[in-house]
Symmetry: C2
Amino acid sequence: MSGQNFSKKRQMILDTIKSTDIHPSAKWVYETLKEQVPDLSLGTVYRNINLFKEQGLIIPVANVDGEERIDGDTSAHAHFVCKECGCVYDVPATHAPISEETCTLDGFCTHNTVLTYYGICGACTTI
Amino acid sequence: MSGQNFSKKRQMILDTIKSTDIHPSAKWVYETLKEQVPDLSLGTVYRNINLFKEQGLIIPVANVDGEERIDGDTSAHAHFVCKECGCVYDVPATHAPISEETCTLDGFCTHNTVLTYYGICGACTTI
DNA sequence: ATTGTTGCAAAAATTTTGCATTATC
DNA sequence: GATAATGCAAAATTTTTGCAACAAT
């Protein structure tokens, strides 16, 4: 596409990431989209995810069981990772003391802050 | 050792982790200790790191360039990860709004909180 | 034509694991 | 001797990459 060079598949990968709140892994994006787009390659998913990260369209939020999990919501908020089921939940920014200050430390320039709570989620506690 | 079943190598691996503040990767621990203990295996380092994590003797603090970085200091504090050089720095708890509350979210039980700042460190800014 | 994107498969890199051997008590 | 820890190498995973083919303008 003109200027934006977004291919159909690239757009669908981004849409898939943006349309869910499960904080997916690359594999999940691939498997989910594969149903609609049979001729999709995992390499393409990885390549586009890396591109989106560079462009700031998505952010990596956690590494769960060796898999990187990403978030299409780049607004300031925190996350809760369940050690039991591996689910990643959003935690409203109001609950999370995220200070968006930049360059607070001596000579250090902070670009972004990641606040993650680890524990057992409600679903896993109930069971 | 009696009761504690700590082998010499296990103890040396833990000591190596506890004696540095660089927040090492498994590979770094292996390569560093290999100089003193030539017959050390990388598998042993990984096995012991996993053990220490289960026991709460060390904590994973970040995943930098695909490598998990660990910390022998389990007290409440935050970290700064330089996107440029990959160094991981300690951030005093006084600077970090770490709330040690537990089970604050509905039915969720928080075991630990990880607060990480990402940006460019002083050394990389100067250059 | 030229530029960018993808599929495919191989390759890299990190982490785990099976099993025989060695250490520890 | 019984139990646990290790070395070694293979295996399992996730992620990256080379290259030929394809798409778009």
